[in-house]
Structure formats: structure tokens, C-alpha cells
């Protein structure tokens, strides 16, 4: 406070930012090599693919109206990656990382659910899905309270939520794909995005299930599971990049 009064607000902010950056830089150049290759560089592959998706979204995103939500997701992922890097490598802080991961989980499910339901052609099903999604926030609130008050494991709930709010809408989308006439499917961005989302969640669900068992019995292989998770994310973003390269201009 005295520092603020002496230096004035802007000068004080500038000095604090400089201090933060210099500390980060010092930590970065002295970081242990272990942290960089902890996940066999798969996390860096994921970050690279996220960044590539971000570049493609800037270049091609304005041509495809329906991919605006995916652009928002890509930006959010990039921010989350930077936070993770900071919290894991530069200034380890599990609590902050965990907090942001929880927020990102809600953000991710919301974006994906909203995107998939917007691409469902049957108006009745689309309306029902959107109303159904309101239960997501009720469940999140209940889980948060339950976790705070009773310290119960959330894993089973989180798995169920991923299945209900992401995989089921993906399956509805694919059922509709075969009901309605849609020529040249390869040039539909929504096909690539929903395929990526379905693939990621279907493949990561077993990793999620195995996580506790591996942690308890084969702790040394836990990093492999995390590495595979990052690779799945990289594949997801690769499919997003393919979606951005589609020639169709109209999304819905």
C-alpha cells in the first residue's frame, strides 16, 4: 500500500508486472529438464496443435460462421495451456491449476454441447437438448457443494456428465446425419468437429476409468496415461484444423 502511494498506481503496476515476468524468466531458464519431458513431450505436441488451430481459426474462421464457438474454445484452451505451464513449471501451484482446470471443464462441456445442439437439424430435439443442458449447471452446483461439504469423489459423476452432455448429443448428430440429405459430407465443418469431439471423449473415457487403478498399482505409468490424453487432445485440434479448411461457407 505504501509502495502504491509512493510510486503512484501505473508506475506500481508496471514495476509489479516486470517483477513477475523476470521471476518467470528466471524460473523458466532454471527449470528442471524433467518437467519439460515429464509427459514425453506429448503436452508440447498438444500445445503446438492448439496454437496451430488458433492460427487457422484466425485465418479461416471469418469465412465459416458456425465455427465461432470452436474459435472461442481454441482460445480458451490456449489460455488454459499457458496457465498450466505457469503452474507446473514456472511457479508450481496445484491449487490454482486445479481451480482453472475445473472452470475449463465447465467451459469445455458448455461450448461442445452448445455447438453440437446447434448443428442438430430437428428443431424439437434441439429445443429439448438446450433445456436439458440447464440441468448441467444444477448438477455442477450440487457436485461442488457435495465435494466441499462431504469430500466425496467426483470421478463417477464427471464421467457420467461427459457421457450425457457430450457423447449423447454427438450420437444424436450422427443419427441425424443419416436421416437428412447432406451432400459432400467431407466439406461440412460440423462433421469434423463432432467426429473429433466424439473420438476424444470416447477414447479418454477408458483413460479416465483406468486412472485411479494405475495410480494405485502402477504409479510409474501414470505419466503415460496423461501423455496419451495430451495426444488425444492434439488429434482433436487436428480435426478442428480440418474443419477450418472446409470449403462450405454455410455452417448450419
Amino acid at each position: 500500500m505504501i509502495f502504491l502511494l509512493k510510486k503512484g498506481f501505473f508506475n506500481a503496476s508496471g514495476d509489479y508486472l516486470f517483477h513477475l515476468l523476470s521471476q518467470s524468466f528466471k524460473s523458466a531458464i532454471t527449470v528442471d529438464a524433467y518437467y519439460l519431458s515429464k509427459y514425453f513431450f506429448c503436452d508440447w505436441i498438444m500445445i503446438a496443435s492448439t496454437f496451430a488451430a488458433f492460427v487457422f481459426s484466425i485465418k479461416f474462421g471469418h469465412q465459416l460462421n458456425g465455427l465461432k464457438l470452436i474459435t472461442i474454445y481454441v482460445v480458451g484452451s490456449l489460455v488454459m495451456d499457458l496457465i498450466s505451464i505457469y503452474c507446473e513449471i514456472i511457479s508450481p501451484n496445484y491449487r490454482i491449476e486445479s481451480f482453472f482446470m475445473s472452470l475449463f471443464f465447465v467451459f469445455e462441456i458448455t461450448i461442445f454441447f452448445y455447438y453440437i445442439s446447434n448443428n442438430i437439424k430437428t428443431a424439437g430435439i434441439r429445443q429439448k437438448l438446450k433445456i436439458f443442458f440447464l440441468t448441467f449447471f444444477v448438477v455442477i452446483l450440487a457436485l461442488s457443494l457435495g465435494h466441499i461439504l462431504f469430500a466425496k469423489s467426483l470421478k463417477a459423476w464427471l464421467m457420467a456428465m461427459q457421457f450425457l452432455y457430450v457423447i449423447v448429443p454427438c450420437l444424436i448428430y450422427f443419427i441425424e446425419l443419416f436421416r437428412f440429405y447432406q451432400p459432400n459430407l467431407k466439406e461440412h465443418p460440423s462433421f469434423w468437429v463432432v467426429t473429433g469431439i466424439l473420438f476424444y471423449y470416447s477414447s479418454s473415457l477408458p483413460l479416465f476409468i483406468l486412472g485411479d487403478y494405475v495410480f494405485a498399482n502402477f504409479h510409474e505409468y501414470l505419466n503415460i496415461l496423461n501423455a496419451l490424453n495430451y495426444v488425444l487432445y492434439a488429434i482433436l485440434f487436428s480435426l478442428f484444423i480440418r474443419a477450418y479448411l472446409c470449403k462450405t461457407k454455410v455452417q448450419y
Binding site: F40, C42, F174, L177, F178, Y181, Q182, P183, L185, K186, F191, T195, F199, S203, Y221, N223, I224, A227, L228, V231, L232, I235
Partner: protein, 268 residues
Amino acid sequence: MQNKSPILIIISSIVFLILCLVGLIITILYLHQKKQIRFQQEIEKIRANHEKELFKAQLEIQEETLQYISREIHDNVGQFLSLVKLNLNTLDFEDRILANDLVTHSSNLLTRALEDLRDLSKSLSSEIIKNGGLQKAIELQVSHLQKTGKFRVIYDVKGNYNYLSEQNEVILFRILQEAINNIIRHSSAQEIIILLSCIENNIKMYIQDNGKGFDTSVLVNGKNHVTSGINNMVKRAKLINADFAIESNPGQGTKITVTTPLLESWEQ
């Protein structure tokens, strides 16, 4: 070796996952392609059936038109020419006054025959549509009806009338002519209302009379002069994808409504 095994596990898992993803995408695209081919085949079948129906309708309309011409020539022009021939055969130049009367009478009959032929020709010709459009053609038709003195005709146009294609205007006009012919021949009506309305990309033509009406169940059950004319109108409406509706009850007149979408008309 110990260091390499996690990497091997990761690489083999990645390869397996990528193969699964590629397999999933290829399967979806292949099944989708098969479905689209089947869908297109069904559309082609429906289109072919529709074209067959349209062609059949066009042939039937042509047949009806030729029969109408044949009837008109036989009933009107043929009768007049027969009378003229009879007059000329019985002409006696010795009786000058009688001969004069017969010649004058024959001349009048020939004039009426020529007028009938001219009217028939005009009614079949679509020149009036080409030159003045549907509105003008209806106005002329209304004026002919009013000149007969037998009918009180009310004609109105609602909305901003946008022109259909010439073909559609001709067909709508033919439907109107058929309806008016039916009114003249069968309804014993004294008043005819013709309304042309253009609202929300639809053109609606509405023809009503205060004649004796009929039981619309004959349209389903029987084939007679009433059903033949109405079937003709239905077929013509189908040609331009218009909706045709008829309401009638004995003693309560008849209402005919033809609705054609403006957008489809332009696309045609």
C-alpha cells in the same frame, strides 16, 4: 530398455488410436455415401413419376381442348353452315322476295358463324396474355360477360400484382375460362365474382357464382360433364403446382380457389 518401453507404449497407443479414428471416419463416410445414393435414387424415381403424371395431364388437357373445339364447331358453326346450305338448296330465283329473304338470312347465319369462329379462335389463343398479361385478359373476359347482359360480374384485384411467367398466366386464364364456361352452361347464376389477390408470395384466384350449385360428391363418384370440366381445371392447376379447391352445395352456388406460389412461378 526400461526408458524405451513407456515411449513404445505411447507410440503404439497413438498408432492404434489414429487407426481407429481413420477407420471411424472412413466407415461414416462410406455409410453416408451409400445412404445419399439411395436417397438420390428415390428422388429420381419420384421426379420421373411426377413428370409422367404431368405429361399424362398435358395429353389429357390437349384431348379435352380438341373435344371442346369439336363440340363448339359441331354445335354452333356446323349448325349455322347447315342452315345456310339448306337455304341455298331451297333458293328459288323465280320468287325474288323469298330468295332475298333466304339470302339475307344465310348472310346473317354466316356472320354469326364467323363471329363464333372468331370468338373460338380468340378464346384458344394466348396472344392476349402475351400482349397484356393475366389481368388484362381477365378484364376482357369480364367485359365479354357483361356485354351478354345475363350476368352481373364483380372483378377485383387485391395486393400488388406481380407477374407470373407467361405459361403460368395462360394456365390460370384457362382455368378461369373453364370455370366461366361451367357457370354459363350449368349454374343458372346471375352474379359472378372474380378476385385476384397477391399476398405473401402467393397468387390466389377466386371465382364464385350464386347459381344452383351441385353435390361435390359427384367429383369422386361419377364421370360426367360436370366432373370432366373440373378435372380439367385440377389437371391444369397441377401443371403449375397450384392448389385447387372447390366448394359447392345444391342451391348455394360454387366457389373455386386456385392458389399458386409466386416463387415457384418465377423458378419455372
